[in-house]
Amino acid sequence: MAIDVGILINLGFYLSIAIVFAILALGFNLQWGYTGLFNAGIAGFFLIGAYTCAIAITAPAPPVPGGLPGHLGGFSLPFPVGAALAMLAAGGTAALVAIPTLRLRADYLAIATIAFAEIARIFTINLETITGGTIGILLIPRPVDYGPGQPFLNMATIVGIGGAILLILLLFLRFVAESPWGRVLRATRDDEEATMALGKNTFRYKLQAFALGGAIMGLAGALFAVTLVYLEPVGSFAPAVTFSVWVMVIVGGAGNLRGAILGAFLIYGMEWLSVQLKDFAPEGVKDTIFFIRLMIIGVLLILLVLFRPEGILREKKRTLR
């Protein structure tokens, strides 16, 4: 029985993180799939969301022996408030990053956003009094905590909360995509000049879509913080996160909501499996399995771009009848 619970908890961990990635993929899908804005700084918005939420909801840090630097915090706000703050912070930063670059070609935006993400990571690692430096933020409270004796219930609750958020987001984005607003976004992506000629202020629409996408990534960060219950800046928010989300959306199909979610579950499934299989791998491969996984992601990126740029589920054809 104990083994069964262990497997279930492991599976729950997979589900909860896959949900976080699915939300990230939905945010990126709104920015790139619908609006054509190529965001290369997903990890940065994710980071801002995660740290904003973590700082907002943690209790005052108890004095830790060993002289940990500690972090800004002690507000003990409830999780929904923390998540809302995370969305505000990430969305606001997204708007700020986008303003100078949205009028320029797509690759300027890519460079500016990846630069922003790296700067955000450097600041997070070094601003110890605010973010806890390389140690990060520990003891983040769960939204509902059954105590340390009930790991399964805790995990199930997180998966439930994440699943609910994902479902609401999916419905919301479906509504948005079919709305006149979403139509303008797709029109901007397909032919910006024609959309401008129709009297739409495409800059404003692009800015709104980018900020909304950033806010969704911030929400993913907030969920990530309460799922892991700790944050560390070096590995969790590396550029590899951004590249993984690209693969997820491209695999699933850009411009298709179900595709983005499917891609997230598939690609994170691969990552999770590589962790699970590490113990069974032969001696020579054991230490390199993570590098091989990243190489596979690279190969996937190239092959998909070359041979199936529309992904598994292609975007719905919307034609006038």
Binding site: F38, E118, F123, F291, L294, G298, V305
Partner: protein
Amino acid sequence: MAVASESESAGKTRSWQSRWGALRLTRRFRRQLLRGLIVIAIFFALNAALASAYGVGILQYTIAGLVVGSIVIVAAIGLSLIYGIRGFANFAYGDLMTLGAYVAVIVNVLGGLSLILGAIAAFIVLGAVGILLEFLIFRRLEGRGPVAPLVASVGVGLIIQNGIRAVATTRQWNYDVTPIQEIPIVPGLGIHPIRGIATLGIGFLFMLSVHILLKYTNLGKAMRATADNLELAKATGIDTRKVRYAAWAVSCAFASTAGVLLGLGTVVSPSMGFDVILLIFAAVIVGGIGSPYGAMLGGLVVGLSQEMSIPLLLWLGRPDVIGLQHATAYKVAIPFILMIGVLLLRPWGIAGRPPAFAPRVFFVERLSRALTRRPAVADQSEGDG
């Protein structure tokens, strides 16, 4: 590409009467020369002022900035060539630099030969890698906009970086060169013969060779034409396919040399190239995308600004000022602040010329117009937006 237009009519009546009129510099070049001299004068005055105020030792940051600048220049020229001719941001560039550095490690450390041979081997191998990349991947992505090749290049970068980690493990390597003492210029200020002088020299050599390549060879002319207007270049009978292969070879070969120089200055490690790729992008954008001459200027500006910000950051880190922790870690953010400024004010770069039909109403222009909103009469004949 920013190319000085040679045949600018220089005042038809007067200059032809004088015997030396034909040798008069064009007005555009004179203007650029004047501007350049002013900037250089300000730079020297600033350094002289710093040296007199804080002692000669502070000039070590200027020297470090010039050294970093010349590494960035070599890399940025290569990146800019591909950017101009293939029209996308090559995110694998940093990892190509790493690959070049590792090829030199194989020759120099494992093979026991001199580093110069290693650098030459890396130059050749990486040139071949560039041709291979274009042949296998990027030639199939022509006409798919800037994002598809960008994504593919990230894939290439991931494969190279993690392939190196899987094969050569994550350990760090040092090149096997004879240790030489720093040469003192004046007491308290020295320069390292290899890390300093050689790097500066190689940077200058590459700048010169690119200038000769672009200005005085048929290939360079074809490259400039292809970067300027692909369709027009095709129509005039330039074999743009060949130009693209040549550009990839030159670009990746430059990446290898930049990688070797970078490894010489610090250590060779799997993530060394990826860690500086954003710096190189900042240089390319500050100088003006797609222009190798802009890349030279941008590389210099980026390198100098990053290294010369260290004393300022150290001052900020003093407990009686702000007490910023790990103050020097923020030096890498300075080039990006410059980059954002350039994107706001001059998105075509400090060296580039504004495109004729660019959307001129940028954020700042709009802001200044909103602040000085006057009746429509005052706003005459500017004709933009």
